[in-house]
């Protein structure tokens, strides 16, 4: 990277805000998908939105690609640097700027972690609903970019349902306000595309989020089943009875064993467990619980354990949230897949995964957000055995095809990033991708903002319509603008 450009970068950020040493850059070579790596030319660590804007302006002027980075927990290579480009690390923009309890809003900088928000507002009986398993470490900026979800998204929705407004720096260096604390601000709903854009449209520097009141009652049920199929049928039956639980999670024997070894949640000895959480007004929870209990019994639940207090509930959730990391206890290496199927297709897809497990000779653990059909197959392998890592990767991608064939999606929460972009044409036609690309071109015609992600092949934007010009219809007096 050219020294003059580096000097300019150094001049717009506070001392210590520019990293160029190989040892410093190493940390930023990948996100949590560690096999995809690239060395950036520089990492900047701005402390204010103004610094972010100054950095983006410089990149724009010099035509240098840049990648925003939160806390690097992404699992699709979204924050993978562009070789010799700039990484804009947002971890120092980590202040909670405003807490407005009467209106149930908080305004934060993007480097604030997800859980910090709930911690800050819980003395007031409130919480921030999206709860990715990585919530202790992941940043709100990363959550917005990935439209992150968690176990409780079945009832409460994803990040997109809880972000009301952002301030962001566009790829040309302009600062914009999109949405806000009040609802229904006029104009196109640009927030809809910024959320989930995986850092390819803008760098978010501030966000106003909706917080919720804690429900009056919460009840968590842990039920063991003879088989994944029976547990799956119980889920369908619960929803068929008109109940949308706050969360429905499922784990199979292998992942139960792993969790047990790692964090001792004292799960039952079963081939599958379901965690069903109901929340809301006490009377509603009580009535719904009676239904859920009878459904589980009818599906032959082998055990049922009810958590009515926080400590008990936390023990159960610890087992679920530790499931990924716990796989290290049962396998030297594992590959985490993320795919979605319509809930009613779960049994069929799980059957295909079991066949694949038998055929491939690799063990596959299954943890999933069963309520919304979001699968997380964990493919176990041993990297010290030549060829096994590649084999695991093939198995993982075959599972994605099953999801797409079942009418689902190639990602439910981890994003496309660099990892899955090649699969996009399996789910979307050229015309579909072209339509998405129109958005990309409107935001980033020069293609500098996190290039090489989401879209399967690099594309140019063609003629840039540029700043507003008077339309022929306007000139002819056919239409006018205010």
């Amino acid at each position: 990277m050219d020294q003059r450009f580096l000097d300019e970068l150094g001049a717009v950020v506070a001392p210590g805000g520019l990293l160029t040493d190989a040892a410093d850059l190493f940390t930023y070579e990948s996100d949590a998908l560690v096999h995809l790596r690239a060395t950036p030319g520089a990492v900047v660590l701005p402390v204010s939105a103004d610094e972010v804007q100054a950095v983006v302006r410089l990149c724009h002027r010099a035509g240098v690609p840049f990648v925003a980075r939160g806390h690097g927990t992404g699992l699709s290579g979204g924050a993978l640097p562009v070789e010799d480009g700039v990484v804009i690390g947002l971890s120092r923009l980590n202040r909670i700027l405003d807490v407005d309890i009467p209106n149930l809003r908080v305004t934060v900088e993007p480097g604030v972690t997800n859980l910090e928000i709930t911690r800050r507002v819980s003395p007031f009986g409130c919480y921030y609903a999206p709860d990715p398993s990585s919530q202790i470490v992941c940043s709100i900026g990363g959550n917005i970019a990935e439209n992150s979800g968690g176990a409780h998204c079945l009832k409460y929705g994803f990040t997109v349902h809880h972000v009301l407004g952002v301030e962001a720096v566009l790829p040309n260096g302009d600062n914009v306000h999109i949405g806000g604390a009040a609802l229904d601000l006029p104009g196109l709903d640009l927030l809809s595309v910024i959320v989930g854009s995986e850092g390819t449209l803008a760098v978010v520097t501030k966000a106003t989020l909706r917080i919720l009141r804690r429900p009056e009652a919460v009840l968590t049920l842990l039920a063991g089943f003879e088989s994944i199929d029976l547990a799956g049928e119980a889920v369908s039956a619960i929803i068929g009875r008109g109940i949308v639980p706050a969360a429905v999670e499922m784990m199979d024997r292998l992942t139960i064993q792993a969790a047990e070894a790692a964090v001792q949640p004292r799960f039952p000895d079963a081939n599958a467990v379901l965690i069903v959480e109901l929340d809301g007004p006490q009377a509603e929870v009580d009535e719904q619980f009676a239904v859920v209990e009878s459904v589980c019994r009818a599906q032959g639940a082998t055990s049922m354990e009810i958590a009515r207090d926080q400590a008990h509930r936390e023990r159960i959730w610890r087992g679920r949230k530790a499931a990924f990391a716990a796989m290290g206890r049962v396998s030297p290496n594992y590959y985490v897949q993320d795919g979605v199927v319509p809930r009613t297709k779960l049994p069929e897809v799980l059957r295909r995964i079991r066949d694949l497990e038998a055929r491939s000779g690799l063990r596959i653990g299954n943890v999933f957000h069963a309520g919304d059909g979001n699968l997380h197959p964990l493919i176990c392998y041993d990297a010290s055995v030549p060829g096994q890592a590649e084999h695991a990767e093939k198995v993982a991608s075959e599972i994605l095809l099953y999801c797409i064939e079942a009418g689902g999606s190639l990602t439910g929460e981890h994003g496309v990033g660099a990892d899955k972009k090649a699969y996009m044409p399996k789910m979307f036609s050229t015309d579909d991708l072209d339509a998405m690309h129109l958005v990309r071109c409107a935001f980033d015609p020069a293609g500098l903002c996190n290039p090489g992600k989401v879209f399967p092949t690099p594309r140019l934007c063609g003629e840039v319509p540029g700043p507003y010009r008077q339309h022929p219809l306007e000139r002819a007096g056919v239409v006018e603008r205010f």
């Binding site: 990935e146 806000g180 009040a182 609802l183 229904d184 104009g187 979605v340």
Partner: protein, 431 residues
């Protein structure tokens, strides 16, 4: 369209598609007294896409139309080339009850969709104005919703996928049929509230809700609106989960609806009554037919075409002040003004100058809207004119300032619709 006359447009369309897909406009097709050159009513999505391709190539200004319940809003292009209606396009409702999702054609009426979903005890929990006639496409394009927004949100919160026709005649889809999905940009949500300015929505997929087994409504009355605004805030900080918290004016009342299981609806209604008591507000509970009647009346009031309707959105805790301000503005300009709506969300509707004899002068209407707008802006909110008395509609800017992202919105419009044929100048922010 600047070059070709309206007659030429109509002839070209008739020659291509014949009747009934292409026909001359009748009085019912007029938009603010403007007759389009031609009305296009395609029966299939490929035909609709073909019509759009033709309009784009010939630069014919197109107004997409659902039921046409609310086309007479604000400003309309002085000359409309074609109205392109979605209502004749055949297509069935694809209800996946086990997945709690449904894919529906854009031209389907909400009421007809919900009648179909009710067979499995589910629904698309939207209750916009004129819900009996409004189409799915129109509701998505306006992101319209009603009292139940308190619990269920707007179309944007429920949509999970969409199919659209682009101006170049191609069709594209975004999102999918699963509730959880982060593959690619969320164009389905982008289309919500796009007012037909980017593409024509041809199908949409939504997540659904189970129909609640029971409903109760508390009618809370007070001599003035202020204590009701305080009560609405108190509800927000209580553990109650109302489906709707609606303000009515003249008489000033709050309607609090609880839709859940039988026992929970009773429990919550009782708790809400107690809360009213603590605020010195009279409350009574209604259920069954009486409850249905209360809501029917309220919906009719919200849907009325009388006067000019301005949507004022601020923070929930600011609504009390906004109500007081609206009253002062009305008095100052000698206008009739009533405010109703989603008070606990901070979204209320001011109806100005309803009734023939109270029609305001264009100057006083504009001054009143400006005043409401300034007051909302100062609070970080907005005031948008939803529908306007056609006689004086030309004097108001429906949107007001949309802020520093306007160039970006225009860039998006220019990418999707480079010739500006789709509701040109009529989209959000006048894009």
């Amino acid at each position: 369209m600047a070059s070709s006359s309206l007659d030429t447009i109509a002839q070209a369309a008739h020659a291509r598609w014949g009747t009934p897909a292409s026909r001359a406009a009748g009085p019912a097709d007029a938009i603010l007294d403007q007759l389009p050159a031609v009305v296009l009513e395609p029966t299939t999505v490929p035909m609709l896409a073909d019509m759009l391709r033709w309009a784009n190539a010939d630069k014919v200004a197109v107004v997409p139309r659902g039921a046409g319940t609310k086309l007479t809003w604000g400003r309309t292009p002085p000359r409309i080339g074609a109205v392109l209606a979605t209502t004749r396009i055949d297509g069935s409702i694809d209800h996946c009850a086990g997945d709690l999702t449904a894919t529906v054609p854009a031209g389907a009426r909400l009421e007809e969709v919900n009648a179909a979903l009710a067979r499995e005890g589910q629904w698309l929990p939207l209750d916009p104005r004129l819900a009996d006639r409004a189409t799915i496409g129109g509701i998505v394009a306006t992101n319209d919703s009603g009292p139940r927004r308190q619990k269920h949100g707007t179309p944007r919160d429920l949509i999970i996928g969409a199919e659209m026709a682009l101006v170049d005649g191609r069709t594209a889809k975004a999102g999918g049929r699963v509730v959880k999905n982060v593959a690619g940009y969320d164009l389905a949500r982008l289309l919500c509230g796009s007012f037909g300015a980017l593409a024509i929505i041809t199908r949409a997929t939504f997540k659904l809700a189970p129909r609640p087994p029971a409903s109760r409504t508390i009618v809370a009355s007070a001599p003035q609106a202020r204590p009701l605004a305080d009560l609405a805030l108190a509800l927000l900080s209580s553990p109650l989960t109302p489906a709707a918290i609606e303000l009515q004016s003249r008489p000033d009342r709050l309607l609090l609806r609880f839709e859940t299981t039988e026992a929970a609806a009773n429990q919550q209604a009782a708790a809400a009554e107690a809360l009213c008591g603590a605020h010195g507000v009279d409350a009574s509970m209604v259920s069954g037919d009486a409850e249905a009647a209360v809501w029917r009346e309220h919906q009719a009031d919200l849907s009325s075409a009388d006067g000019t309707l301005v949507r004022v959105a601020v923070l929930p805790a600011q609504v009390g002040d906004v109500l007081g301000h609206a009253e002062r503005v009305a008095a100052q300009h000698a206008l009739e003004c009533r405010v109703a709506g989603r008070i606990a969300l901070g979204v209320v509707y001011a109806r100005i100058g309803a009734g023939e004899h109270t029609r305001p002068s264009p100057e006083s209407l504009r001054a009143a809207i400006d005043a409401l707008r300034q007051n909302a802006w100062a609070r970080g909110g907005s005031a948008v004119v939803v529908s306007v008395d056609p006689a004086i509609g030309h004097v108001v800017d429906p949107w007001g300032d949309v802020g520093d992202a306007l160039p970006l919105m225009r860039a998006l419009k220019a990418r999707f619709d480079p010739n500006g044929i789709l509701n040109a100048g009529h989209g959000p922010g006048n894009i």
